[in-house]
Each structure stands twice: as C-alpha cells, then as structure tokens.
Symmetry: C2
Subunit: 240 residues, 2 copies
Amino acid sequence: MVLAGIELAQLIDSMNPLKALSGRINYSFQQPELLKQALTHRSLGYNNNERLEFLGDSVLGFVVSAMLYEKFPSAAEGDLSRTRARLVRGESLAEIARELEFGAALLLGAGEMKSGGYRRDSILADALEAVIGAIYLDGGFEVCEKWLQQLFSKKVDELPPLDELKDPKTRLQEWLQGRKLALPSYEVTKVAGKGHLQQFTVRCQIESLELELSAQGTSRRKAEQSVADSALQKIMELNR
Amino acid sequence: MVLAGIELAQLIDSMNPLKALSGRINYSFQQPELLKQALTHRSLGYNNNERLEFLGDSVLGFVVSAMLYEKFPSAAEGDLSRTRARLVRGESLAEIARELEFGAALLLGAGEMKSGGYRRDSILADALEAVIGAIYLDGGFEVCEKWLQQLFSKKVDELPPLDELKDPKTRLQEWLQGRKLALPSYEVTKVAGKGHLQQFTVRCQIESLELELSAQGTSRRKAEQSVADSALQKIMELNR
C-alpha cells in the first residue's frame, strides 16, 4: 500500500507539467512559484515572466562571456562578442527550450495558445531566459552559474576554431593575403539620416578579382563588415 | 630611520599611478598585472584592455540588472532595461572614471596621449569596464559584485521615481489621460530598406493639441517611442 502510494504520487507528479519540466532541466526549485512565474507569458496578464527574463538575460550574458573569455584566451574582443551573440540569440535559446520541451509547460493566454504560441521562437527563448532568472533568484549566483555552464558546455566545446570566428573584414583580408592578392578598398559612398538613425553605405572594391559591392549599416564599421561578408560569400560562390 | 623608510615607501607608492589608482578605487590587486592590462589602451599594441572590457561589460550589466530588479519590485521589464542603459552607458561610466581620476593612470600610445585620449569618454568608459573585468578575475564574482554595488549604490538610490522611468509612449498617454484629452494615434507612413536595415517612419497625431510629428526608428516600436518622446518635449515647451 505504501508502495502504491509512492507510485501514485509519482504518477501525479508526472502529470504536473511544471514538476515534469523541473525534472527535464534537472533543477528542483525551493520556491516553485518562481518556476511558474518564469513560464507565464504576458498574454496571461500582469504577473508574467518579463521581469525574470530581464534578469535571466543578464545572468546568461555574463556567464557565457566568462566561459568564452576562458576558452579562447587569445581571441579578440570582437570575436568574443560575435560568438556570444551567436550563442545567446533568440533562435539558439529557442532551440534549447525545444530540446527541454518547454512548450508543454508554458502558461499562455487563450489567444496565444490557439495560435500555437508554445511553438514560437520568441516565446520559447523568453521563457528560457526567465527560467534562468528564476534559478538565480532561487539558488543564488553560483548554483545558476554551474547550471548554465552545464547547459552550454557542449555548445561552447563545439564552437568552430577561432579563425572562423574572426570578423568578415579580417577574414576577407586574410583570404586575399593568402593568395598574394591586393587588399580591398572601402569607401563611404552615402550617409543618410541623423544621430542614432544614421545609415552608412559603404562600397568595397577588390580590383584583383574585379569585384565591387555595396552594403549599408548604422555605422561605418558595421557597413564595412557587412560588405566584406557579402564579398566573402561572393568569392566562395565563384570558387565553388 | 625605519619611520623614514616607511615614509619613503609611501612616497614612492604615491608616485606610482597604478598604486595610487588602486587606492582611489579601494581595491588592492593580488595580481597587479591585471590592473595594468585593464588600463592599457589598444594604441599601445596587442596586450591591451579590450578582452577585459568585454568581460567587465557583462559583469557590470548583470550586477546592475540585479540591483534594479531588487530595488524596483514592481517595475516593468522595459523600464528596468531603460534604467540600466542609462546607468551603464559610456557617458555615465566616463563620469565615474573621471571622478576616480582614471586619466592619470591610463597607458596610451603616443598619438592618443598627444591628442588628449585620457580625457575622452570612450577611452575612460572602456578602461572602467576593463578594471571591473580585472577585479572579477582577481577577486572572484562575489568580491566584484560587492565592489560594484558600492560604486553604484548612490546612483541607484538617486534614480527618479518609477513614473519618470516609464517609456515615452506611456508617459504621453498618461499625460493626456490626466487632462482628459483624447489619446494620440500612431501610423506607419514609410518603411524603407530590407531585413535588419529597415527604417520605419511613424506619424503621431494628437488632435486635441493640434500636434503632428514624425520620427524614424529601426522598428515600428522604436519609431513610435521616438515620436512620442518628441511629442512630450514639444508639449513641455508649449507649457513652459
């Protein structure tokens, strides 16, 4: 009878989506109401997961930064930033949330439920960030850090070698230098808008390849990186 | 004679800009080479402070987020984000670095030195972020967190009440509601560019005040906030 009682309790637990998720993420909350809040979409009203998402996003950014800093001791700041952005962008987080079957535990308003909100990248990524914030509040920084290190260790280990993490301008330059070709020239051909809304158009000329491309960006630097990226893609196409 | 020896040692210390800065920031490094690196601008070459800046920026973002989360238990996510951005933007960090006389301890290349780089906002803010990263590596997270909490406690305490931290659209709406005036209407009048480079133009009409303004932004939401901000400024001017 006691055995049956335990089995019954386990059965009931497994029917509780929050407890089941707790098992899948391998974290048991001292304050289960934090997990519930982390999974509550704003379509359900005021006490939703947006504040926890704010907190979780910043813990995540820091822990991943520290992991990358340690793993790539000679990487430049720009390469670290780009790699971090790749690891924590919505798409990547939604993928993790999907692997952990967050969808089954999300608490959504009727409208979002009907329209399949539990499958949407943004809702899944936000919920994962909120759960990170909830674990931080529940267990403290060190516990949350360890949990995140486990969650991201495989992804960090699988990152491509540093070379491929270099910025497009550097990669383009190195590709040309490796073939003893003249370096590209960059020129700002247009600046539109004012202040924070400025748009720079940059032209990149690679005479040795008879290539000329343009791209836009909100800064000269961004426009240059963007046009270098296009040039690299073009070169890879031509060399295929 | 011993006394004189101690005094001499103190005199020599005070002539060492790094030791003097260490005193002003009230943190004594176990690995002083980290402080040196944190103050080394890229104009001096490869072993500069950019990697530490990457790390420090992310620690800072997290610690300030946690402080705000705790201090404003009912603030919305957007208000928390805006407040954090205000506290950690380059201008604010440069101000702190100036108060702590970072300029005297910066290690700059000859060109930057001549052109007054030690006074420039961006160089000062970057150095402060790098020192934060250095303290984290030197003392661990908890020590760095406490140090940052002290550094920012006054600024966080002095933040205006939540109301003033609300976003411009909300403030505009509440201003009009408070006077029983009809609410503004927003309309996208132009979308230019593609993908990440899209520019939205939004027109805001406030018929009750016979006001019509337009603004641009990289998303509909940003353009709306921007035009609401302009409308609030216009209203404040008219009411002065």
